[in-house]
C-alpha cells in the first residue's frame, strides 16, 4: 500500500485549498484489522456457547451481550464514533434510548396483561 505516497500526491493536487483537511481522521490499519479479528472471534464464541453450553434462561442475555459488544466495536471503530463529534454520537445513541422506551413500555404492558388474557381463555 503506497498510502503515504498518495497522500502527498493528493495534497499537491489541491489547488490552494490548504484548509479543510483537518476533518478527516483516517483510522489506523491495525485498529481496523484488530476490530475485525475481535468480531470474528466473538461470532465464533457466540455460536459455540449456543451449541455447547447450557445456560437456560441466561442464554438470551449472553447472546445479546455478545452482540452488543460486537455492535460497540463496529460503532466505535468502523463507524468512527471513537473520533466523531460528541453530538453525532449522542444523536445515534438517542435512537437506542427511544427504542428502549418503546420496547420497555410495550413489554411492561404485555407482562401485565398476559395473566388477564390467560384468565379470559380459562373461563
Amino acid at each position: 500500500m503506497a498510502q503515504h505516497a498518495t497522500t502527498t500526491h493528493a495534497a499537491s493536487d489541491d489547488h490552494g485549498h490548504g484548509h479543510g483537511e483537518h476533518f478527516a481522521h483516517p483510522a489506523p490499519v491495525w485498529v481496523l484489522l484488530g476490530t475485525f479479528g475481535a468480531l470474528i472471534f466473538l461470532t465464533i464464541l457466540t455460536v459455540f456457547i449456543a451449541d455447547n453450553v447450557e445456560l437456560g434462561s441466561f442464554e438470551l442475555l449472553v447472546s445479546m451481550g455478545i452482540a452488543t459488544v460486537k455492535a460497540v466495536l463496529v460503532g466505535a471503530f468502523f463507524m468512527h464514533m471513537f473520533w466523531d463529534k460528541g453530538f453525532n454520537v449522542l444523536v445515534f445513541l438517542s435512537s437506542l434510548l427511544f427504542f428502549a422506551l418503546f420496547i420497555g413500555f410495550a413489554l411492561m404492558d404485555s407482562y401485565e396483561t398476559l395473566p388477564n388474557v390467560s384468565d379470559y381463555y380459562k373461563r
Binding site: 453530538f87 435512537s95 422506551l101 413500555f105 411492561m108 404492558d109 401485565e112 396483561t113 388477564n116
Partner: protein
C-alpha cells in the same frame, strides 16, 4: 456608494429579479431546489387538502343536522369521517406549518441561502405529492372506512382500499422524516456567526423540537403501516389472536408514533405564535429560554404518554396508571408557554393586526383544548368520556383551534415576505373573527353533548342531542366561510395587494432583512445578526416605507482606545 435605489432594492419591495421571477415555466417549479418555491408548492397541496377534507366535514355536519339518516347511508357516513380524518391529519396538519412556513422562513431566519440538503427537500415535496396521489386513488376506488387510525382487526378485514391509504400514509411519513432531518441539520450547522442556540428565533426552537419527533417517531409509523399492508396481503398473524398474535400490539405501534405526532402538529404552531407575538406586541418575548426549552421538553415527554389513547382498549391497569401520571406532566411545559405569552402581551405595545387576532384566538382556544385534555388524561374521568364528542371537541380545539389558527395567522404575518404584497387588513380581521366565532359555535356544543353521553362516529342519534348538533352544524358552515374568506383575502392580496416593503412589521429576525419578495439567493447583502427580539435593531425608513436594520458601529477588535473606529469603504 449606496443610493436610495440600492437601499430600496435591498430592503424594500423588489420590483424584479425576485425568486418568483427568477425563472419561468412549470418545469422551473417542479424541479426547483429553492426552498421558497418548494414552500409555495407545498402550500397549494396543503390548502387543497384543507378544502377537500373541509368539504367532507361539512357533509358530515349537514348529515348530522337530523337525528335519523338523511342523505348519506351509514357506510357512506363511515367513509366520510374516515376520509375527513385521514386527509386532515396526513395531508394537511402534519405537513402544514413545517412544510410551508418552516421551509420558507427557516433558512432565511439563519441568513442562509437554502436548507442543508436542497435535493432532499425537493424529494420530500415529491413524496408528499406521491402520498397525496394514493389518497386520490382511495377516493377513486372503494374508499376507506376504518377511521384514520387503521385499527386492526377491522382494517385487515374490511373490503375498502386500506392498502392504498396506508401506502399513502407510509410515503407521507417519509416526506415528513426528510423534512425533519433537513431542518435539524440546517439549524445545527448553518447558523450564522453570532447566532448562538439561545439567540435563535423561537420559531426555530419549535421547528427543531418538531423535527426531533419527526425523525424519532415517524419511522415507527412506517414499519407499522408496512406490517399492516403485509398483514392484509399475506395474513401474517402478528396482530391476529387466532395465530397467537396481539391486536393491542398494533395500538402500541400506532400510538408510539401518533401521540408524538400530535406534538408534530402543535409544536410548530406554538413556535409561530411565540415568533409573531413579540413582533406584534413590539416587546421582547417574556421568558425566552423557558419557551424555547419547554418546546424540547414537550417533544421528549410526548414519547412517554402514548398509552393514554389505550385506556379502554384492554391495556393493563399498570400501564394505564403510568401513562396517565406522565400525561399530566405535559401540562407543565404547555402552561409555561401560555403564561409566558400572556406576560409578553402584558404592557406590550399591541398592534391589533390580523396576525395578532389569530394569536389571541390561539391562546384562548388552545387554553380550552389543553385544559379539557386533563379530563381525558385522568383515568377516572376518561372512562365515561372516551369515544364521546367530548374527545372530538378536545382534539379539534387543539388541532384546529391551535394549529390551523396559527397557520392562518402565520400566513398573514409572512404573506408580505412570500408574495411581496400586503393583504387587506379589515377583511383579514373580519374573517379571523368569523373563524373564531364559527369554530366555537361548532365545537363548544360538542363538549356539552359529549359529557351528556353522545358517542363519536355515530351516524344516528337520539333527539335530545339534536339542538347541539344543529348549533354545531351552523357553526361549521360559519367556520367554513371564515376559512374560505381568509384564504381568498390572501389570494386577492397576492395579485392586487399593496406593495410591501422588506420589513413592514418592524421585526428583528433575519428573514425580514431581505427584500419582499426575496431574491433567488435570499439576501443580496450580508445579514446583520442581532438578538431576535431586540426591536431597537431596526429603524423605520421612509424611503423604503418599512424598517431597515441598524448597522452596528464597529469597534476595532482589541480596541487600543475606547473610540469606535468609523466604518468607511
Amino acid at each position: 456608494m449606496a443610493t436610495v435605489t440600492q437601499k430600496q432594492q435591498l430592503f424594500g419591495h423588489a420590483p424584479t429579479n425576485h425568486y418568483l421571477d427568477a425563472s419561468r415555466g412549470v418545469m422551473s417549479w417542479i424541479f426547483t431546489l429553492d426552498h421558497k418555491r418548494i414552500a409555495i408548492m407545498y402550500m397549494y397541496g396543503v390548502i387543497l387538502s384543507l378544502f377537500l377534507a373541509g368539504i367532507f366535514a361539512l357533509v358530515l355536519r349537514l348529515e348530522l343536522y337530523t337525528p335519523g339518516p338523511w342523505f348519506l347511508t351509514s357506510a357512506q357516513y363511515n367513509q366520510m369521517f374516515t376520509l375527513h380524518g385521514a386527509v386532515m391529519v396526513f395531508l394537511f396538519i402534519i405537513p402544514s406549518i413545517p412544510a410551508i412556513i418552516g421551509n420558507f422562513v427557516l433558512p432565511m431566519m439563519l441568513g442562509a441561502k437554502d436548507v442543508a440538503f436542497p435535493r432532499l427537500n425537493l424529494a420530500s415535496l415529491w413524496l408528499y405529492w406521491a402520498g397525496g396521489f394514493f389518497f386520490i386513488v382511495v377516493l377513486a376506488t372503494s374508499g376507506l372506512d376504518t377511521g384514520w387510525t387503521f385499527y386492526t382487526p377491522y382494517s385487515t378485514t374490511t373490503s375498502t382500499n386500506v392498502i392504498a391509504a396506508t401506502l399513502g400514509a407510509f410515503i407521507l411519513g417519509f416526506s415528513s422524516i426528510f423534512t425533519g432531518l433537513n431542518f435539524i441539520v440546517t439549524i445545527n450547522t448553518m447558523r450564522p456567526k453570532g447566532m448562538t442556540w439561545f439567540r435563535m428565533p423561537l420559531l426555530l426552537w419549535g421547528l427543531y423540537s418538531t423535527s426531533i419527533i419527526q425523525v424519532l417517531a415517524t419511522p415507527v409509523l412506517g414499519i407499522t403501516l408496512l406490517l399492516l399492508i403485509v398483514e392484509r396481503l399475506l395474513k401474517l398473524g402478528i396482530f391476529d389472536p387466532a395465530y397467537g398474535g396481539d391486536p393491542l400490539l398494533y395500538q402500541h405501534f400506532f400510538w408510539f408514533y401518533s401521540h408524538p405526532a400530535v406534538y408534530i402538529m402543535i409544536l410548530p404552531a406554538m413556535g409561530v405564535i411565540s415568533e409573531m407575538l413579540g413582533v406584534h406586541c413590539r416587546k421582547e418575548v417574556f421568558g425566552y429560554k423557558f419557551i424555547a426549552l419547554s418546546s424540547v421538553a414537550i417533544a421528549l415527554l410526548g414519547f412517554l404518554v402514548w398509552g393514554h389513547h389505550m385506556f379502554t382498549s384492554g391495556q393493563s391497569e399498570m400501564a394505564s396508571l403510568v401513562f396517565s401520571a406522565i400525561t399530566f406532566s405535559v401540562a407543565v411545559p404547555s402552561a409555561i408557554k401560555v403564561f409566558n405569552w400572556l406576560c409578553t402581551m402584558y404592557r406590550g405595545d399591541i398592534n391589533l393586526s390580523t396576525p395578532m387576532m389569530y394569536i389571541m384566538s390561539f391562546i384562548f382556544l388552545f387554553g380550552i383544548g389543553g385544559l379539557t385534555g386533563l379530563w381525558l388524561g385522568a383515568l377516572s374521568t376518561d372512562i365515561p368520556l372516551h369515544d364521546t364528542y367530548f374527545v372530538v371537541a378536545h382534539f379539534h380545539y387543539v388541532m384546529v383551534g391551535g394549529t390551523m389558527t396559527s397557520l392562518l395567522g402565520g400566513l398573514f404575518h409572512w404573506w408580505p415576505k412570500m408574495s411581496g404584497r400586503m393583504y387587506n387588513e379589515p377583511l383579514g380581521k373580519l374573517f379571523c373573527l368569523l373563524v373564531f366565532i364559527g369554530f366555537n359555535l361548532t365545537f363548544f356544543p360538542q363538549f356539552i353533548m359529549g359529557s351528556l353521553g353522545m358517542p363519536r362516529r355515530y351516524h344516528e342519534y337520539q333527539a335530545v342531542y339534536q339542538i347541539y348538533h344543529q348549533l354545531s352544524t351552523i357553526g361549521a358552515f360559519t367556520l367554513g366561510i371564515g376559512i374560505f374568506g381568509a384564504v381568498m383575502t390572501l389570494v386577492y392580496a397576492w395579485f392586487f395587494g399593496r406593495k410591501a416593503s422588506g420589513n413592514p412589521w418592524g421585526a428583528a429576525t433575519l428573514e425580514w432583512q431581505s427584500s419582499s419578495p426575496p431574491s433567488f439567493h435570499n439576501f443580496e447583502h450580508r445579514v446583520i445578526v442581532s438578538a431576535p427580539y431586540d426591536f431597537s435593531s431596526v429603524v423605520y425608513d421612509e424611503s423604503v416605507d418599512g424598517y431597515v436594520p441598524v448597522v452596528p458601529k464597529r469597534e476595532a477588535a482589541p480596541a487600543p482606545q475606547p473610540t469606535p473606529a468609523p466604518v468607511s469603504n
